[in-house]
Amino acid sequence: MNLLAFAAQSNLPLWMVGAYLVILLGLGMFSSNLFRGTSKDFFVASRSIGPFMLLMSVFGTTMTGFALVGSTGKAFMTGVAVFGAVAVWSGIVHSSVFFMIGTRLWAIGKRLGYVTQVQFFRERFKSHTLGTVLFVLLVLFIIPYLLIGIISAGKFMQGTAGLDPRLTGLVICSVVLTYVFMGGVRSAAWANTFQTLVFMLTGIVAFAMIAKSVAAKTEEGSGTFLENVKRSTELVEQVKPERLVRGVHPEKLNRYDESKKTYMIQSVEGDYEGAYETWKLAISEHLTALLEKHGGHDKSVDTVEFEALGSLQRQEFAFVITELISGGAAEKIMAKKAMPHSGGERERVKLANLHQEQLATAKIAAADDSDIEKQFTALVLLELRRPEAPIEPVAPRASMSRLLWITYLFIPLSVGMFPHVFQHWLTAKSAKTFRLAIVAHPICIALVWLPCVFIGTWAAGLHAMGELTVPVIPGTDRPNPSAVLGAVVGQLVQNSWLMGLLMIGVLAAIMSSLDSQFACLGTMFTNDIVLPWKGKDYYSDRDTVKIARCFVTGVVVASYLLSLGLMKTASVFNLGVWCFSGFTALFPIIFAALYWKRATAVGAYACIVVTGVLWILWFRDSGYGADKGYTVLGMLPMAPLTIVSAMALIVGSLATKAPEGRTINKFFPNSTR
């Protein structure tokens, strides 16, 4: 039963999603009661968020819908290597970034009263223009990221419940807008905490239920939880072993060795070149005989003459011509001379069909001993097939190359430049608040990713066995990775409760990032554009909150309208993935601003220019993101992009005058000197 049909049968999942959204709104209302009415509270929750909420809100913000749906799809395509490449790297890098960047930015933000990254960059580099350039870049990079969230939610609900994606977008934007409007970042933090708990729970519950269903397909059947996991993985080991390793599975190596041996024997003993020469001679003689019979005085067959032939003669003639066309240049010329119209696309298809028919007839006749003459003619005809050269088997490749595996390190670096994560860092009550987030983040990532990676890997095994049908990417015959999780739940578990929970989990993961992004963009427009333009004391604190709320509303409305326009284009997804590279490539700026006293505005400009130029160049080279496996020198593009941008920053900074001592004193605590 497919997912759509299953979901349509029961309305329970939709009721569950509705109930979840109502609870979320209720939580938003509750948290807005805690809102103190000040701009500081709206932008950074009066820097009063405790350790657990900081962990949940930052974790929820960094984990998008990709953590549930994307990780499953990626594991389906690549195997378990995804866990190490993305989740474990993220654990190591995120914790390090929180420790080194997060705590320090919090301290600077607290000390100097910043609420946005741009405020920090403007003062650190003593350049208002640099801040404005970074503002534009950050907004440009974050908008596709935000649109992906709205569109993904719409598409997911369309695939699972048949809902109009425009309606889904409208509902989630309205819910998020309501609580962010009322309570600002404080409400976003409360909602994120709740949503993060929900999607973590979803992953674990789905894992247990799917393990049971997959194990039921094995000979032993389902058992305890651990037995189910073991049996499901062993099933994959039997049918799709390459999905269980990052490198090359020994089973695949054995198969390669065998086919290589066969190839070597064929190459040595087959005498392909001799067979080819014999074939050339035989087929040209056969063609001459046919043309003698049907070619008339010009020794060629035109369209009219060809159509005038009997059915069997046409098949035989088409067979010979098609075989000749598959040969070398001389044979192609021969075919063209014998049948001048054979070069057209339409004629070729027609000839190919007749060739297939003749081949099938000849194979049957060759196996039939009752009519010796017919059998002999068929065998002669079969001998006219062009001999095939032995094909050298391709050496098996690792699921993920070593270089690619290393360069996955650069993906999680982007978290250091995300403006919405920056804003959550500033909500911390004290630097100590970060401790839990730093320690628990790697565990939380593993908890969410491991079940999803296993589900994706099991799905690959079931798909290979023909036990699972995954919807294909439109216009291709390749399975759609984004549809894997839905297909597994829909076809294997067939439980309305789990389906509802899964829908809630995916929406929770998407919305927990959306709310922070909306709040962050509203904050940035207010604090980086309006307040510096009008002067800090021009608006009262209450007016500042009103302006921020207007901007949040404006950003939500604009994002929703943009998502409607881009709903049917894939390019926004491609662009979104590349925007990640942009954030990573700008990471050297924040790192240098915090740890390198010599970093200057010119260095930052150099970093931005190099990032911009290479980003555009490589983005275009990848077919505007269409080539998903695009690499630069075997690496993810963000790796060389970040390395080169860092070098530009260093060169640009060293080539210019060092910042004033006053600036250094302002941003670097003594202990780090």
């Binding site: 866990f83 190490g84 474990v88 654990g91 320090r104 390793v245 593993a446 003594n670």
Partner: protein
Amino acid sequence: MRYFIVTLAVSLCWLHQDWFIWPILAELNYQENFLSWIVAEEHEVKFGIPANVGFQLFLSIATAFVAFIAVWKAWPKELERWAEADGYRGRGRGRGGRYRPRGGGSKSSAGSKPSNRQTSRPESNKDSSERTRRRRGGRGRGGNSQSQPRAGE
């Protein structure tokens, strides 16, 4: 301690490149020594988990452990005090940001040696009570090397 933590973090990154580990483990397996029970090949499924995933999962836990040691032993205590200090005061004199944790009495500064060059300020409010200033170099206004309370304190 911070260097030790950095070493641990770098080791985690190095261990994450696990391809060099599997041949070593295979060699141990061949020798059949006391470590054989943990030995597995990359593709081998142990307890329902492929060995390479098990190893990466172990690294996740190890990362949390290293992070725990980092926040326990290498926590930048002075950063919080620096953040709590008034960032705008003194900047006009080119001395903004020169705050150090107070030497005695505070748990957070237990790791640093109390200095007789630091003097406490009257505890007029919470912020100022946690703040001390250090005069750099030379002799103080009082004619000795100790820093003096600021005017009006």
